[in-house]
């Protein structure tokens, strides 16, 4: 690793050509995103709670993807992984959308705050549980913590993204060593901020409820999401004739295995959370699951268990599926959809616990946030090399063989 191997990169495979349809994507996605969000806020003027809950789910979907990207990049450095170098740049661009989420958070933090967080922001005076939680769950501390999350995420994302890009020019292995040594403390910061953000922005919607595994649950879902997203983007780049001979079916096979692993991990955490609460049967804990087992939400719960675990578990089991374009496309698209269902299931029962309800605003907000995030991702993608060409492990990654 002191002296990077000279790699012969197939010409035209590692940069998006000027004529490619990928070049038009940032503008199209950006316009769609702005339009869909404008439409959402116009449609939702009269129904603030619905608008901001729909927006929160869409926001969390985008955010979990970006945080998943951050985790993927940090994990590769922390483990000094060789196999993943050719896909790491894609994850770096997803990670680099994190600063955008400080901006996208403003509608929730400024206008939607009372519609979403009123349970604890304006607690009934005779509620001893919320009075006891007040030192943590109060608007001042909430905003300070949000500022800390965005500061940490922006700092980590920009810092890692810039240095990896600089290595494209300088070809300096010392950059890899520096990022490696900082990835471990960065992972600790990542774990803390993700956990507290999950508590603040999802768990606090039902402020009496608590689950100590909740941060891990959100983390598991976000890793499923980033792996599914990386697979889909890599497949469509290959479909456009890019990364040919660089990113191979060996990488897809490994990504598919990781996706399978995190589907199982998510199920393991989800079931652990459920079983302990079911077994202890303490009212303040079971209430949360009771909301998700009545008034139509039980079908959403069953759909989540079957769709986020049962079906993808069986489907991704055979080796052939993880080495097939159609198989991986279906599995990754389905799991991204199920990740949205998962977040919906976490957030929405606190608004509609008397009846199951899907709103048009859910769709417009989702299109808006996802398009804006994708616009930034595609903008970064087309303006640089598709793989970290200066990484000392690039040759090792390109020669990957799944044993």
């Amino acid at each position: 690793m002191e002296h990077p191997h000279e790699v012969t990169l197939p010409a035209g495979a590692i940069e998006v050509p000027p004529s490619s349809r990928w070049r038009r994507l940032p503008a199209i996605a950006g316009a769609v995103g702005v339009g869909a969000l404008a439409l959402s806020f116009a449609l939702g003027r009269s129904d603030g709670p619905q608008l901001y809950h729909s927006y929160l789910v869409a926001y969390l979907f985008g955010l979990s993807l970006a945080l998943g990207g951050l985790f993927f990049v940090l994990l590769q450095y922390a483990t000094r992984a060789g196999w993943s170098v050719v896909v790491r740049r894609l994850a770096e661009h997803v990670m680099a959308t994190l600063p955008l989420f400080a901006l996208l958070w403003l509608p929730i933090g400024l206008w939607g705050f009372d519609d979403v967080f009123h349970h604890w922001a304006h607690p009934p005076p005779d509620d001893p549980v919320l009075a006891w939680k007040e030192p943590y769950l109060n608007p001042g501390a909430f905003y300070v913590r949000a500022a800390v999350y965005f500061a940490v995420w922006t700092l980590l994302a920009v810092w890692f993204w810039r240095r990896s890009r600089r290595q494209d020019e300088e070809r300096e292995p010392a950059i890899t060593r520096r990022l490696q040594s900082l990835s471990a403390p960065a992972l600790i910061l990542f774990g803390l901020t993700l956990t507290y953000a999950a508590i603040d922005w999802i768990m606090s919607l039902d402020p009496h409820w608590f689950s100590t595994i909740f941060g891990v649950y959100v983390f598991a879902g976000s890793v499923v999401a980033i792996l599914a997203f990386l697979i889909l983007v890599a497949l469509s780049l290959r479909g456009s004739g890019l990364l040919d001979g660089v990113l191979t079916w060996e990488h897809f096979h490994d990504l598919g295995k990781l996706l399978f692993a995190f589907v199982v991990f998510w199920a393991y955490i989800a079931f652990s959370q459920f079983m302990l609460i079911w077994y202890a049967n303490i009212p303040e804990e079971t209430e949360w699951f009771i909301h998700r087992w009545h008034h139509g939400w039980q079908y959403a719960s069953i759909f989540l268990a079957a769709g986020h675990f049962g079906l993808p578990f069986l489907f991704l089991l055979p080796q052939e599926v993880k080495r097939s374009r159609a198989g991986l496309t279906f599995a990754a698209s389905w799991l991204l959809f199920m990740h949205y269902v998962d977040l919906y299931w976490l957030v929405m029962p606190s608004l509609h616990h008397e009846h199951f309800h899907v709103d048009l605003l859910d769709l417009t907000c989702l299109i808006g946030v996802v398009s804006l995030v994708f616009a930034v991702f595609a903008y970064l993608l087309v303006r640089g090399k598709l793989v970290p060409v200066g990484d000392p492990r690039l040759a090792e990654s390109m020669a990957l063989e799944v044993l």
């Binding site: 079931f271 459920f274 079983m275 049967n281 089991l317």
Partner: protein, 198 residues
Amino acid sequence: MNRDETTPSSAPPNARPAPPEAGGKLFGLLAELADPESLMRACARVRDAGYTAWDAHTPFPIHGLDRAMGLGKSWVSAFVLVLGLSGAAFGMLMQWWISTRAYPLVISGKPLFSWPAFVPVMFECGVLGGALGALGGFLYKSRLPRHHHGLFASERFERVTDDAFFISIEASDPRFDAEETARLLREAGAHHVELVHA
């Protein structure tokens, strides 16, 4: 690999029993190659020549050797699947029987068959079944354990756990011909080819 004798391979030849005379049953041909690259190339040659009863022997795993040898998918996974599912089914059935038939005790007011509480044990039994399936399937497919192998008659073959790379083609292969096959192996890059009598 049977390497239980403590004598290093550089010991004088008389430190171990002399190889049997050429009168023994012919096991096949053993070809030695210089390095992993020439082994891979030679394997591709042997594979393309249509041999079926043959193997490659190396001191460490070599990426891509299975492809060079034309080996298909390893079906150890089928053993894992069947035994894993059987283990999980056994785990759940066992707890159903214990909790509802053998010792029907009401615990914390829950139904006798409280399946969520049984999932962890079901899962662990599934993992145990899968692991045993992997081990058993691997042993079965590798025809292990066995106390002897025809190649142990070759003194050269001892170095396969140190630094030597071999291809063996068994005499039972329908295409086997002591002279033709030896020529193929030499053309494929082997620097030493010997007949092994078991």
